[in-house]
C-alpha cells in the first residue's frame, strides 16, 4: 500500500527499502521504510531529507533507547498498513470512548505490561497515534478500580499530600465512596 507524501519521495518501492535508525544507546536498527514511517516523527525526517536521504548513515533518535525501540518496532510492523485510529467521544458528555483491541494488541500489552510508560513516552515522541492512545488506555485500565495506595505503588509515585489535604479530599468526595 503506497503512502502518498508531499514531496513525492513515497512509493511502494521506497517502503521496501531499508533505513538505519540509531537509538540513544548507539544501537542500530535496520528497518523497512514502510514500517518506520508508522512513526510520524520518522516519516517527517525521511520526507524532509527527501532526495538527499542517505539510508545507510542512519536516522538518530536521541529520546528512545534500544530495548524500547525494539518493542515499538514490533508494533509498527503489525500496524504498518493499519488505517489511522479514530478518537471518538460521546457527543453529549465528551467522554472518551474506549478502543476495542485486537487479540494481537492485547497480547502485545500483556507482554510489555511493565513498560507501558516507556511505550507511551516513546509513542508520544515518535508520534505513533495508535500506540500512544492504546498505551494510555492500558494505563487507564490499570488505574481503574485501584486505591490511591495501589496506584502510587504501581507507578512509583511519592505520596506528597499532607494529612490536611487528604482529609479535605476525602471530605469533599464522600459521595463517591458509597
Amino acid at each position: 500500500m503506497a503512502t502518498e507524501s508531499a514531496n513525492g519521495v513515497s512509493s511502494p518501492e521506497l517502503n521496501e527499502r531499508d533505513v538505519v535508525i540509531t537509538t540513544n544507546d548507539n544501537r542500530n536498527f535496520t528497518v523497512k521504510i514502510g514500517v518506520a514511517r508508522v512513526s510520524k516523527t520518522i516519516n517527517n525526517m525521511i520526507q524532509d531529507l527527501g532526495e538527499s536521504l542517505d539510508l545507510s548513515s542512519g536516522i538518530p533518535l536521541p529520546n528512545v533507547d534500544g530495548p524500547i525501540f525494539e518493542k515499538v518496532l514490533e508494533w509498527c510492523e503489525e500496524h504498518k498498513n493499519a488505517p489511522e485510529i479514530k478518537v471518538e467521544q460521546d457527543p453529549h458528555t465528551r467522554e472518551r470512548k474506549w478502543f476495542t483491541m485486537t487479540e494481537w494488541e492485547e497480547e502485545y500489552f500483556r507482554k510489555f505490561l511493565s513498560h507501558l510508560w516507556d511505550l507511551a513516552m516513546a509513542a508520544n515522541y515518535l508520534e505513533i497515534p495508535s500506540l500512544y492512545y492504546y498505551t494510555c488506555q492500558k494505563l487507564a485500565e490499570r488505574i481503574k478500580g485501584r486505591t490511591p495506595e495501589q496506584i502510587r505503588e504501581m507507578f512509583g509515585i511519592e505520596d506528597d499530600l499532607t494529612e490536611e489535604e487528604k482529609a479535605e479530599i476525602r471530605r469533599t468526595n464522600v459521595w463517591c465512596t458509597y
Binding site: 467522554e95 494510555c136 505503588e153 504501581m154 479535605e168
Partner: protein, 429 residues
C-alpha cells in the same frame, strides 16, 4: 502449600514479591517472619526436605547466617487492603521509577485520566499533588455527575462547583449544610458553570444552604425544583439565571409572589415552565398571567383547583400574553368554564391542550375546537367514554385522551433513567 518443598515455597514467594533473592541464601524478610516461621515448623516434620539432612543444614547455616537477618523495615510499609505488602517507591513489574526517569508531560496524564470515571478520578486525586492539580483543574473530567438519592454535604457540593461541573443530578438527594465553611470556600463568589441542575425531591436541612448554592449559579439553562420547599430568596437567586429556558416547579412549595415575579421578570428566555400543583396563591396567579414571559412555549398550570383567580379572565390574559404557547396544561382547575374555549381556539401555535378534570367546561363546547389546529386534546374525566369516542370522530385528526401525564419541563421522562433534559449524567465506564 504443604505439598511444596521449601525451595519451591521460597521461589514462589520470590515470584510473588519480585524480589531478587540469592540462590544460595535464604533471606527472611521481617514482613514474612510469620510465614517463614510456619515454613520452619513444617520443615521439622518434613522428611523430604533437603534441610532435614544434617550436613546440608550446617552447610547452609554457614552460608546463610550472614544474610538471615531482619529486612530494613523502612523498605516496607503495610497498607490495609488487597495488596498487603508493598515496596516503597518502586514498582512491582520493573525496578524503574517511571516518574523519576521521565518527566511525564501533563498531556499524557490528561489523556490517561480522560478514560476514567468519577470514582477512579477521585482515587487519582488522592494519589499525589500533581495528579490532584491535573484532575481537579480539568473541567471536562467533572462535567456531569449523578448523585441520585445520595447524602451530600455542602462542602462536597461547592467543591464540585469549583471543579466546573455543568450537569448535576441531585434527584432525591439530601443536602447537609456544613457548620463551618473553611475559609477558602467561604470567600467564593466565583460563579459555577452549572447549566443543568435537577434538584427534584431533594431535601435541605437548611434553606440558607439552598440559597447559597443557587447564588453561585448564573448560567443555568434547565432547573428542576420538583416538590422542593423553596423561599423567595431562593427564587431571587434563580432569577439571576437569565439564560434559563426550562424551569420545573411542579409541587414546589414555600414560595410567594415576590419570588415568582422576580423569575418572570428576569428570565426572558423561558420556553418551558411547569407550575403544576405548585401551591400558587391567588395573588401569584394574578401576577403570573400578567408577567409570564412571551417566549413561553410549553406551560403547565394545572392543579390550582378552586383557586379563585384561576378563572376565565386569567386564561384570557395568559393566552393574550403568551401567543407562542404550543402546549398548555390547565388540568384540575375547576373554575375554568366554557368561556375559555374561544381563547384556546384563537391561539395560533397551540398543538396540545390538557383540560383533564376541568369540570367547569361543558363537554359539548369542545366541539367548537374543530377549527383549531390542535394535535392532542386531553380531557380525562370530563365526559363519558361515548362522549370521548364521539369527539374523536368529530375532531379528527386531533387525538383525544392520548396521554395522562404532562411532561412539561420535567428532567427525566420516558425511557430515560438518569439523563436529565436529554443530557447523560452516568459514566459509561
Amino acid at each position: 502449600m504443604s505439598g511444596y518443598s521449601l525451595d519451591q515455597r521460597l521461589s514462589l514467594k520470590r515470584n510473588v514479591l519480585g524480589l531478587r533473592v540469592q540462590q544460595q541464601s535464604i533471606i527472611v524478610e521481617s514482613s514474612f517472619m510469620e510465614t517463614s516461621d510456619r515454613c520452619n515448623t513444617n520443615m521439622r516434620y518434613s522428611h523430604h526436605s533437603p534441610i532435614n539432612d544434617e550436613n546440608s543444614l550446617i552447610e547452609m547455616q554457614n552460608q546463610s547466617f550472614e544474610s538471615l537477618r531482619r529486612q530494613d523495615p523502612t523498605l516496607f510499609y503495610k497498607t490495609p487492603g488487597t495488596v498487603k505488602f508493598v515496596r516503597r517507591r518502586t514498582s512491582f513489574d520493573s525496578d524503574e521509577d517511571y516518574f523519576a526517569k521521565y518527566r511525564v508531560p501533563d498531556h499524557v496524564l490528561l489523556l490517561i485520566f480522560s478514560h476514567l470515571n468519577k470514582k477512579d478520578l477521585v482515587s487519582v486525586v488522592r494519589t499525589c499533588k500533581r495528579f490532584l492539580n491535573i484532575a481537579y483543574n480539568n473541567k471536562s473530567f467533572w462535567s456531569f455527575l449523578n448523585l441520585e438519592n445520595k447524602h451530600i454535604s455542602e462542602h462536597s457540593l461547592h467543591s464540585l462547583l469549583d471543579r466546573k461541573i455543568e450537569i448535576l443530578r441531585l434527584t432525591g438527594a439530601t443536602l447537609q449544610s456544613s457548620d463551618s465553611i473553611p475559609p477558602f470556600i467561604g470567600n467564593f463568589i466565583r460563579p459555577s458553570s452549572l447549566t443543568h441542575l435537577d434538584l427534584s425531591h431533594a431535601k435541605f436541612d437548611n434553606l440558607d444552604a439552598l440559597v447559597y448554592f443557587l447564588g453561585r449559579c448564573s448560567s443555568l439553562e434547565c432547573l428542576s425544583l420538583e416538590a422542593c420547599y423553596v423561599n423567595d430568596s431562593a427564587c431571587i437567586e434563580i432569577a439571576k439565571n437569565s439564560k434559563l429556558q426550562c424551569l420545573n416547579m411542579i409541587m414546589a412549595s414555600g414560595w410567594e409572589t415576590r419570588g415568582l415575579i422576580a423569575i418572570m421578570n428576569q428570565c426572558k428566555q423561558l420556553a418551558e415552565l411547569n407550575l403544576g400543583w405548585a401551591n400558587l396563591t391567588p395573588e401569584m396567579i394574578r401576577n403570573f398571567v400578567r408577567t409570564a414571559p412571551i417566549t413561553l412555549q410549553r406551560l403547565n398550570l394545572s392543579g390550582t383547583r378552586t383557586n379563585a383567580d384561576m378563572n376565565d379572565e386569567s386564561v384570557r390574559l395568559l393566552c393574550q400574553r403568551c401567543p407562542n404557547l404550543m402546549e398548555l396544561d390547565l388540568s384540575d382547575n375547576n373554575l375554568i368554564t366554557s368561556k375559555s374555549i374561544p381563547y384556546f381556539r384563537a391561539m395560533p401555535c397551540l398543538r396540545k391542550l390538557d383540560l383533564a378534570r376541568c369540570y367547569g367546561i361543558e363537554p359539548r363546547d369542545y366541539l367548537t375546537l374543530n377549527t383549531s389546529r390542535l394535535e392532542e386534546l386531553n380531557i380525562h374525566n370530563c365526559t363519558s367514554d361515548e362522549g370521548v369516542e364521539f369527539l374523536r370522530e368529530f375532531l379528527h385528526p386531533t387525538l383525544i385522551n392520548e396521554s395522562i401525564f404532562s411532561i412539561v419541563a420535567r428532567p427525566t421522562v420516558g425511557e430515560a433513567a438518569t439523563s436529565i433534559w436529554g443530557m447523560r449524567t452516568r459514566d459509561i465506564y
